[in-house]
């Protein structure tokens, strides 16, 4: 299937989850230095549950569509489940083959989410290597 499948282009053209939150519990910004793609994630966390999410950013269709798809998944998810989310899950959401050179595009949203959660838990941010994992 083509990388630019209709669902990806649809999320890119009409991204979901960009309505800013009034009082986010945490806000975190991540970039992919190699291409300049940038995402900011806001989360509202109540009782170890993600009750609100918003994001903003600029970049390629893959990074923006992946973030848009991820945002639809997260509402109501426990922070524990979100922390455990694997890169493969993002690839399943995208539903198209993501090659090596686009992996960081696809996972920028997950990276921002993981580090937003860590920031909220007052932990140190994780590295790209930890986000991408070893299944590459």
């Amino acid at each position: 299937m083509d990388l630019y499948a209709e669902n990806i282009l649809d999320h890119f053209r009409s991204p979901r989850g960009k309505e800013p939150l009034q009082k986010p519990s945490v806000e975190h910004h991540e970039i992919n230095a190699s291409c300049g793609d940038a995402l900011t994630v806001q989360l509202t966390i109540d009782d170890e549950k993600i009750t609100g999410l918003s994001w903003s950013g600029t970049g390629c269709a893959i990074s923006q569509a992946a973030m848009s798809m991820l945002s639809e998944e997260l509402s109501g998810m426990s922070t524990k489940d979100a922390e455990r989310m694997k890169p493969d899950h993002i690839k399943e959401l995208l539903g198209v083959p993501v090659g090596t050179r686009r992996t960081k595009c696809a996972l920028l949203g997950l990276h921002a989410l993981k580090n937003a959660l860590r920031k909220h838990a007052k932990e140190k941010p994780q590295s790209w290597v930890e986000t991408v994992g070893t299944e590459q």
Binding site: L3, L9, R13, C35, G36, A38, G59, C60, A61, I62
Partner: protein
């Protein structure tokens, strides 16, 4: 005399191979060029028939390898008009050449000395100086750009008036905007102010004949792989008196005259700056690339790439939703053109083009200060070489238009 490009293309194995049934339109030549058969053949011949370490051993093969390596040095010297072959130092690439100057010449500078760069620079001509600044606390100053990206020489004059500048390190040709910088003027201004000049010629070397003595430039750096040679070999040219006055860069075998327990005496030029076994085959391959270019006719090559570049700019400038970065007129531009397309990120565009066998570069092209000046994070770059054709440019434009249709349809 105009070139028969089909004859030239037949000499490049890379261009003959179909990918997904399509020929490759390789338009990423500012990153690296493809290699003609004679260069590939020379590498094979060296390893198969002449392979020995140089400057060592008395066996005849070692001498043959040494002679071939030194012959390559002579070819490079003559290619850029250097006074002596020993003014040519073989490095790994232009980046290493600049690092050599920043480490060696840089270490002779006193605290507070000025190094002047331009906002057009590739990171390879920025980071070595920022590193020098971390070691020595020097002053880095920037030649500003005019609105269209050309250098603002009045800002250079202002910097030079402070009389702190020891070296101006500047590109000869922007790897993003294709702007040919006013080297003669800058060198004259610098020398008047008692400053030296290093030219990063990584891009310029492919598009213009350079004569280092006529230019009176102090240092010049380039890579072999951007002029149809192998990767793994770069060149630093330096004026003899300067190179002689500089301390060695890397220490090791081959760069010494003598060593004892307390110290060492450096070898004479050029060996002083070539520690360890160099990329012998690649240097010889670069010599073969120079031979190949001369057999085609270097002036004719430059005419072809200039015409093709103008053709590409003309076609791009009439492509809808596309904005060319930098000057709107072609005057004084060469080699590469960068642009943005409304609604399509450069990575998506080059991905889509790449699937049609059309190779362009996307990203910040190792020029973050310039991209910040331009107010963008990434762009798409088209760069030409002698084997490119107008048909390839046309294919590229069609590809961009198709990508627009894909991204913009609703």
């Amino acid at each position: 005399m105009s070139l028969d490009i089909s004859v030239i293309r037949r000499q490049f194995p890379f261009l003959k191979k179909l990918r997904d049934g399509k020929p490759v339109a390789y338009l990423d030549n500012a990153a690296t060029t493809q290699k003609p058969e004679n260069v590939l053949h020379r590498l094979q011949e060296f390893y198969a028939e002449q392979n020995s370490n140089i400057n060592r051993g008395m066996h005849p093969l070692a001498e043959e390898a040494t002679l071939a390596y030194e012959e390559a040095r002579k070819k490079v010297a003559s290619f850029i008009g250097a006074a002596h072959p020993s003014d040519i130092i073989f490095t790994r690439n232009a980046t290493e050449s600049i690092n050599l100057v920043a480490r060696s010449y840089g270490d002779t500078l006193r605290k507070g000395s000025g190094i002047t760069l331009s906002v057009l620079e590739h990171h390879s001509n920025v980071i070595p100086w920022l590193q020098l600044n971390e070691r020595k606390d020097i002053a880095i100053e920037w030649i500003e750009l005019q609105e269209d990206g050309r250098l603002d020489l009045s800002s250079l004059s202002t910097i030079l008036k402070k009389k702190k500048t020891k070296l101006i390190a500047v590109t000869g040709l922007s790897n993003v905007l294709g702007i040919r910088t006013p080297l003669q003027d800058m060198i004259a201004l610098a020398h008047e102010a008692g400053a030296k000049v290093l030219i990063d010629a990584a891009q310029l070397i492919a598009h213009e004949s350079i004569d280092v003595q006529t230019l009176d430039v102090d240092f010049l750096a380039f890579s072999g792989h951007k002029i149809y040679g192998p990767t793994g070999v770069g060149v630093l040219y330096g004026k003899q008196s300067l190179l002689e006055s500089m301390p060695p860069f890397l220490g090791g075998g081959d760069m010494i005259e003598s060593v004892d327990r307390d110290g060492f005496k450096s070898a004479e030029l050029p060996r002083k700056f070539e520690a360890g076994t160099p990329s012998i085959a690649d240097a010889i391959g670069l010599g073969a690339a120079i031979d190949w270019m001369q057999s085609i006719g270097i002036d004719a090559m430059h005419v072809h790439t200039k015409n093709l570049f103008s053709y590409a700019r003309k076609k791009l400038s009439t492509t809808k939703k596309l904005t060319i970065l930098g000057p709107q007129s072609d005057e004084g531009l060469l080699g590469c053109v960068s642009f943005t397309v409304d609604g399509i990120h450069p990575h998506d565009l080059t991905e889509i083009l790449g699937r049609k066998g059309i190779c362009l570069r996307a990203g910040h092209h190792c020029t973050q200060p310039l991209h910040k000046f331009l107010g963008i994070t990434a762009s798409t770059r088209l760069s030409v070489a002698v084997y490119n054709t107008e048909e390839e440019i046309d294919r590229c434009i069609e590809g961009i238009e198709a990508a627009c249709r894909l991204f913009c349809k609703r």
